[in-house]
């Protein structure tokens, strides 16, 4: 497994210029990968559509089936997939560095379980369907994510001045179990049709059908990405340990706070948009480290690009393999991710 606890930048005396060139190369390369995937994905699907008809402005949209398939059934899915994939991959990188644990995922700290609980409650209680024009399920899951985030953060900071990553980890894992138990209880009380819907929600679904959920998700995810952009150098030092980072002039507490809050916010928004789609946050960062090394100035942008591309591709498979049936995208990522994860574990020995 790539050694996340050592920073290459300290061992390898790369000049500032060559590092900057590599950062640019990685950003452009993986950025292009994500963009190309997003452009190509809507062209692929079980129905053959004519592109000239899709963009033919003379046909009213309400009568243009090709355009509706392209703009309702495919393009929003690609954009949502890119957004969710990038967020989960980036959150994985940040949390693995923050917790100094290569097995950490965006779902380790209870945020996704909180999001799931929110969604379950809306699905089973049948709460009023729309709030401010947006469907209630994504909003409730985002609220659940924020709730979990607040609880974990409060627990990790209440005991002493700093932010204890140990408490963070333990509180997160415990909250995961607790929320999972509550979810099971809620599902148990629900009637079978609602249980089916809530079980299905957990498998992830990017068939957003409109751009509104994407726009809702964009604000918190954008905010997180602004924070991510400030983190890489500090994360490099943080992976060596808090004390060591402090001696090098890093404001450890501020970095930890920023890392936890931004990663959790991105995760919460991603889960609200697409459901708790697993394994992206662990496969992508590790794959990226195999490709570009362990320097977070490279790992973070590369993971964002690869995470976006990977989930968009998985989602194309989700909507085409069993067409007209939907194959849950979380099942695809888990089936690819599970074996990969095991291979990483074995490879480490």
């Amino acid at each position: 497994m790539p050694d996340t606890t050592a920073t290459l930048s300290d061992r390898r005396p790369a000049t500032a210029g060559s590092l900057r060139r590599r950062v640019w190369a990685v950003q452009i390369g993986f950025g292009l990968l994500a963009v190309v995937t997003c452009v190509v994905a809507p062209l692929i699907g079980p129905t053959s559509i004519s592109l000239s008809r899709v963009f033919d402005g003379t046909i009213p949209f309400a009568e243009n089936v090709d355009a509706q398939i392209f703009f309702i059934a495919r393009l929003p899915r690609a954009i949502a997939g890119a957004l969710v994939g990038a967020s989960l991959a980036a959150a994985g990188v940040v949390l693995q560095a923050l917790l100094r644990n290569p097995l950490a995922t965006p779902f380790t700290l209870g945020v996704s379980a909180g999001a799931s609980l929110g969604a379950m409650l809306v699905i089973t209680l049948g709460v009023p369907l729309t709030v401010l024009g947006s469907a209630a399920v994504p909003l409730a899951s985002f609220a659940g994510a924020l709730g979990a985030l607040a609880i974990v953060y409060f627990l990790a900071t209440m005991r002493r001045q700093g932010l204890s990553t140990l408490v963070l980890l333990l509180a997160g894992v415990t909250l995961n179990s607790l929320f999972s138990a509550i979810i099971l209880f809620v599902q148990y009380l629900a009637d079978p049709a609602q249980t089916l819907q809530s079980v299905r929600w957990v498998m992830g679904n990017l068939d957003v059908g409109s751009y509104r959920p994407i726009l809702w998700g964009l604000a918190p995810i954008g905010l997180s990405f602004v924070a991510f952009a400030r983190l890489p150098r500090a994360l490099n030092l943080l992976t060596m340990g808090a004390d060591s980072a402090a001696t090098r002039g890093i404001d450890v507490l501020r970095t930890q706070r920023l890392a936890f809050l931004s990663a959790s916010l991105a995760t919460g928004a991603a889960v609200a948009v697409g459901g708790p789609i697993g394994f992206i946050g662990i496969i992508v960062p590790h794959l990226v480290r195999l490709l570009v090394g362990a320097d977070h100035r490279l790992v973070l942008p590369a993971s964002i690009g690869l995470g976006a591309a990977f989930l968009v591709i998985c989602d194309v498979a989700a909507r085409t393999l069993l067409s007209p049936m939907e194959l849950p995208v979380g099942v695809i990522t888990a089936m690819l991710g599970g074996p990969f994860f095991l291979w990483l574990l074995v490879r480490n020995r």
Binding site: P46, N64, V65, D191, A193, Q197
Partner: protein, 302 residues
């Protein structure tokens, strides 16, 4: 490793769902099982299957029903009987305490069936299938409870009403229909529709509609929105068992379909939301449910 548990749960759930779907489609082809004949009329019946509880009351065995399932709502008298759990959580202790001489189970409740059988109590197992299977189950239940005449009358009246419906609608254009029985509230995600087999498909055909997914031999299809756009149904009939859904909620649920404006059903305002568990539980009210679907599809025929 709680980290893994989260993912495992999703994975196991998906595998379970796939397996149960496979089982359901396999079982649906051979429903009638566990017929016991030549037995005395049972006097203390427990039923955890909503459709069969309702059938028991409909064939005059209601007074003998001493325990019902969690999800039983029809007829209203079931409210006066003790609840003994449902498909996933039958309370065996309570079932035994009611001292039944017949217990009606779902075919999938194998463990419970074995327990009750071991205690020397008879069971009646139910596996749902198409409309014909439902009629067979009604007659079997009549035979088992020694109420053949009432059961025959109920089954025959359903058959007659469905036949009358076919006659009434003969020669009319059959609209292409998408029959939806589940989706995420307030969105078009996780839409479940009827494939070309099972009682929902049969009811739709009897109601004078042509199922857009008739050629797919499955009872339930989780659909992509692309599949709905491509299928381009003339009518969308959406079933929900929430009988008390507020009118405003109904309107906003129907409005959710508006974004698929190229679908003829949406364009022509032929999206219908039908409320009530008679649409999703194949039982004595099957003819009512089929007629209601027919009225939605052919408003000018009534």
């Amino acid at each position: 490793m709680t980290v893994m548990n989260r993912r495992n749960t999703a994975f196991v759930a998906s595998v379970l769902l796939a397996v149960s779907a496979a089982l359901a489609s396999g079982l649906a082809s051979g429903p009638a099982s566990g017929v016991a004949s030549g037995q005395a009329r049972p006097e203390r019946i427990v039923s955890v299957v909503p459709a069969l509880t309702e059938t028991l009351f409909a064939i005059g065995a209601g007074d003998d029903v001493v325990g019902v399932g969690t999800f039983d709502t029809h007829p209203p008298e079931v409210a006066t009987r003790p609840r003994v759990g449902g498909l996933l959580d039958p309370d065996m202790e309570q079932i035994f305490a009611l001292r039944p001489d017949l217990v009606v189970f779902h075919g999938s409740q194998q463990d419970q069936i074995e327990q009750v059988t071991r205690a020397g109590i008879d069971t009646f197992t139910y596996v749902h299938g198409g409309v014909d299977d439902t009629l067979t189950v009604i007659r079997r239940l009549g035979a088992r409870t020694d109420r053949q005449a009432d059961a025959e009358q109920l089954a025959a009246s359903i058959e007659d009403r469905l036949a009358a419906l076919r006659t009434r609608l003969a020669g009319r254009d059959r609209p292409r229909v998408l029959l939806v029985f589940g989706r995420e509230p307030g969105s078009l995600r996780n839409v479940y529709a009827s494939g070309g087999t099972g009682f929902l498909h049969d009811m739709l055909e009897a109601a004078g509609g042509e199922n857009v997914f008739a050629e797919l031999p499955r009872e339930s299809l989780p659909l992509t929105s692309e599949a709905i756009l491509t299928a381009a149904p003339d009518v969308i009939v959406e079933l929900t068992y929430d009988e008390r859904m507020a009118a405003s909620s109904q309107a906003s649920e129907i409005a959710v379909w508006d974004r698929l404006s190229s679908v003829p059903a949406v364009r022509d305002r032929r999206v219908h939301l039908l409320l009530g568990n008679q649409f999703v539980q194949p039982g004595p009210r099957m003819a009512d449910a089929t007629e209601a679907i027919a009225r939605a599809l052919h408003p000018d025929a009534f």
